[in-house]
């Protein structure tokens, strides 16, 4: 509601025909440029992260015919099969890995970041200047990269910050302590486990959103040059 009112004000200057208050919104939509619609879709798509998990780490081993797996959401860790996280923790305590925490600060930061960027995206989508879209696109890329880096840091800590009283200690060939960091992306063998780390639907929504942001910019730029 707030957005549409704001846009309505902008509308007046852009479209002197729409003096009739009832028709303001209608006209705004009617004359809305293609790139703006794309940008609004782009801004909405990352909200899919609240519906679907972002990432999944799966651990396969011979004695786990049903693999252990954990979904990472923007605001939660969840079991893929009942009790998976509890069982991952039980496995990992042998090598001194920490328990996967119930909550991490990121569960507050990430959702806030997504809400803010989506809001900004919607705002510039309504406002209409395609150059802003590029800015949004870059912002999203930077934030996502930061998110991935944060995820990497967490994974590294999870895989390397081991309990010195660990039941089993493994060393690499060069004598250094073996880490158990799951891959950031892809598949990796860790002792008897094969660990998979792959994006889920939520990441797809985010990726499509970012890509659409760029598309909106591109379309806007093209329209400008043809106009």
């Amino acid at each position: 509601m707030f957005i549409s009112l704001t846009k309505a004000r902008v509308d007046f200057s852009l479209s002197p025909l729409s003096f009739n208050a009832k028709n303001i919104k209608y006209h705004r939509l009617r004359i809305m440029k293609k790139q703006n619609i794309i940008m609004i879709v782009a801004a909405l798509l990352p909200l899919g992260l609240f519906l679907f998990p972002l990432w999944r780490i799966t651990l396969e081993a011979p004695q786990y015919p049903t693999p252990l797996a954990m979904n990472i959401h923007v605001n939660d860790f969840s079991d893929v099969h009942p009790h998976d996280i509890k069982n991952i923790n039980l496995m990992n305590h042998y090598v001194g890995m920490q328990y996967i925490p119930e909550a991490i600060p990121e569960f507050k930061i990430f959702p806030t970041g997504i809400l803010i960027t989506s809001f900004i995206g919607l705002l510039i989508g309504w406002k209409g200047n395609y150059k802003w879209f590029l800015g949004w696109f870059i912002l999203m890329l930077v934030l996502s990269a930061a998110g991935m880096y944060d995820f990497y840091l967490w994974e590294h800590d999870y895989g390397h910050n081991l309990d010195p009283k660990a039941i089993m200690k493994f060393t690499n060939k060069d004598g250094t302590v073996m880490g158990f960091q799951p891959p950031l992306f892809g598949t990796k063998d860790i002792l008897n486990f094969k660990a998979h780390s792959y994006p889920q639907f939520g990441a797809l929504f985010l990726g499509l959103g970012i890509a659409s942001g760029f598309l909106a910019y591109f379309v806007g730029k093209k329209n400008k040059s043809t106009a």
Binding site: T66, P82, H83, K86, N87, L90, I167, M168
Partner: protein
């Protein structure tokens, strides 16, 4: 001589194998090595599943074993009527009540005839029922957990043999008595048997949702032996049929005295009619004494309730409820075909196999064509109810099963064979030897309106030379046959546990999908459960000490306990905190006078220990649970009765320092 005989049989069998393979080759257009063809039929590749479950009674083991078909591999022994130290069934405080009876705690039983629950005449795989022959009881096993969850004692019964068969919607599980006895039991001379002893046929209702059992009524029949039974189905649904022998009412040397009458009876009981009579207040409540034991999978605990009365019905007071069908020579098995029309009386001393017609029986009742009566129960004329007989099919017929394609398969104990014959024409189609002296046979879906065909297996009473010798005592032997063709084909020999009396089998899919993997720890309502290491404690109540203990890979909590004194009764209440499939933990303590405990994930079990010696005694996990299984252990210190060792416990820290802190009031 024996060698010649064996090789002759072997040659005959190879010939038979050739013949049958040629046949199947013709029909299926298959070719290839003949012997490998048979092997392929029973081969279940590693990691793959059998197509059928078979639940084979353990007879004098008191239990029920679970097999896969066609592989013949045994998956599990389910403890039912006997103590089972492997899991602690009947030893743990939670399961001891399951074996309670009006005669006190009974550690053993003789399990006979498993039967799977049905819906609309089809096997539904929810529950399996089985009877205990010696101290009459009926048990129910939940096929979600493969655990015995209910046992009801059957009063007024003795030799609970014509049991435990279910009606086509599992309205009732029926339990007939083999031995007639004085009802109510009393002190009287045995020679006054005739006319004074009675046989009780019990109809135990099964609640549709929960499966809870309750004796709805008992029909008090004349003092014959009620040997086996089966429900009517389809058109004969509402009736139940029981074979009888010893209609002579002899009480001694039955092998002679109970074999004199040319014909005994099949008793046809119209249970719907009696149910209606009972629902209208018919019958009388008789004082009785019987145990009803129910296991609750949320508290993981069984409770035993003594019931004090039972409703009995005198059949002569319910007109049209019971009729006798004369059947030659001490019939054993009483089998009803899938359509419900034919009732087979396997006259074990008869040369022919007698088959009665349900339609003709109804017509004879309608026409009131009676051949006298016995104790007020009308006897129908043999010729009026006879559908036909299979002429001289073999020696000593015992049991018949059906394939749902119009064929019947009867076991012959004396001539040691299974004979396939056709319903309606009564012609013999095929016969195959069994090794040796077959008792029961099973076709998956056997006791139902829709047999699932494909395989038949024969359960034999004599093993002799079928396997590598194991001394004088051997497991019994079963043979699996392919019955998909015209001729039966022997596929496999496999040993069975205890003495199988009948088996129930069915397609695996229904049961497999519902099989539970763990018990949810959140749902654990055991009063002594510790659901996390923080809940663990030791509580003294007089000379009873309750240890709230947990297990998780790979430790007990607490694992150091002090302050136990001689004369104490120590309860180890062990909760398995695991929530992963197939991660049980075990518990045993040195000098334990019961069995170990095997605790499934999310479950709590209790073992009582009454230490007899001062010392520090170890306890440990008996199930190789994890890589640190050998480290999963603890100590419990037992002091003299008059010692003043404080009651303390710990895990992962020095017990004395904990004691110090506690004494300083820091911990509490």
């Amino acid at each position: 001589m024996k060698k010649i005989l064996t090789s002759t049989i072997a040659i005959a069998m190879i010939f038979a194998a050739f013949t049958s393979c040629n046949n199947s080759g013709k029909t299926n257009g298959q070719s290839g090595a003949l012997s490998s063809n048979v092997a392929e039929k029973v081969y279940v590749a590693p990691g793959e599943y059998d197509e059928f479950y078979a639940f084979i009674s353990g007879g004098y083991s008191g239990n029920l074993t679970v097999y896969g078909l066609p592989s013949g591999r045994m998956f599990k022994e389910i403890p039912v009527f006997s103590q089972f130290p492997t899991s602690g069934y009947g030893y743990s405080e939670e399961t001891k009540p399951m074996l309670n009876t009006s005669h006190g705690f009974i550690p053993w039983g003789d399990s006979h005839h498993p039967d799977i629950s049905q819906t609309a005449g089809e096997i539904d795989g929810r529950f399996i029922f089985i009877n205990e022959n010696n101290t009459p009881r009926i048990a129910k096993i939940d096929l979600k957990t493969f655990e015995t969850t209910e046992i009801i004692e059957v009063p007024n019964s003795a030799g609970n043999h014509s049991s435990s068969f279910v009606t086509e919607n599992t309205e009732y599980v029926v339990a007939g008595t083999r031995f007639s006895v004085p009802i109510p039991q009393r002190d009287m001379p045995i020679k006054e048997y005739k006319g004074n002893f009675q046989g009780a046929l019990s109809f135990i209702s099964v609640a549709p949702e929960t499966g809870n059992m309750d004796i709805k009524f008992q029909v008090l029949m004349p003092g014959f032996n009620y040997d086996l039974s089966h429900p009517g189905r389809g058109k004969s649904h509402g009736w139940f049929f029981f074979t009888t022998y010893n209609t002579e009412e002899a009480s001694t040397l039955l092998e002679v005295n109970a074999s004199q009458n040319d014909k005994d009876f099949i008793a046809a009981v119209n249970w719907k009619k009696i149910e209606e009579y009972v629902n209208n207040g018919g019958g009388t409540m008789m004082p009785a004494d019987y145990a009803h034991n129910v296991y609750d999978e949320h508290t993981h605990t069984a409770t035993s309730t003594m019931k004090k009365e039972v409703r009995v019905v005198n059949p002569s007071e319910v007109p049209g409820a019971v009729y006798f069908l004369p059947t030659p020579k001490s019939p054993h098995g009483c089998d009803v075909d899938p359509s419900g029309e034919y009732i087979v009386g396997n006259g074990k001393l008869s040369a022919n196999l007698t088959v009665h017609s349900f339609t003709k029986m109804l017509a004879a009742i309608e026409g009131e064509k009676f051949d006298g009566e016995a104790y007020g129960i009308p006897i129908l004329k043999f010729e009026d109810v006879l559908a036909g007989s299979v002429e001289q099919p073999g020696l000593g017929p015992l049991h018949t099963e059906f394939d749902g394609k119009g064929n019947a398969y009867t076991t012959f104990f004396i001539s040691s064979e299974v004979v396939k014959w056709k319903l309606g024409t009564w012609e013999v189609i095929d016969r195959k030897p069994t090794y040796y002296s077959v008792g029961h046979l099973t076709i998956p879906g056997g006791n139902s309106g829709k047999p699932q065909g494909k395989y038949m297996f024969a359960m034999n009473k004599i093993t002799k030379d079928r396997y590598l010798p194991t001394g004088p005592e051997m497991e019994h032997s079963a043979q699996l046959y392919d019955i998909s063709g015209d001729k039966m084909e022997l596929l496999l020999d496999f040993p069975t546990h205890g003495e199988p009396h009948y088996a129930a089998a069915m397609r695996a899919d229904l049961i497999k999908e519902r099989s539970q993997k763990i018990y949810d720890l959140e749902d654990n309502k055991h009063p002594y459960a510790a659901k996390s290491d923080d809940d663990t404690k030791v509580v003294r109540k007089g000379n009873e000490v309750h240890i709230y203990m947990t297990t998780i890979r790979s430790h007990f909590s607490p694992d150091n306990i002090e302050g136990i004194k001689l004369g104490d009764k120590v309860y180890f209440h062990v909760t398995n905190l695991e929530q992963d499939f197939d991660v049980p933990h075990g518990f045993a303590v040195l000098g334990q006078n019961t069995s170990e405990l095997l605790i499934m994930p999310g479950q709590t079990k209790t073992s009582v220990w009454e230490p007899t010696k001062v010392g520090v005694w170890p306890f440990y996990c008996t199930d190789f649970c994890s890589a640190l299984h050998q480290e999963m252990q603890g100590y419990i210190r037992v002091s003299a009765a008059n010692a003043n060792t404080p009651l303390i416990w710990s895990m992962g820290e020095d017990i004395e320092s904990k004691q110090f802190l506690k004494l300083r009031g820091i911990l509490f």
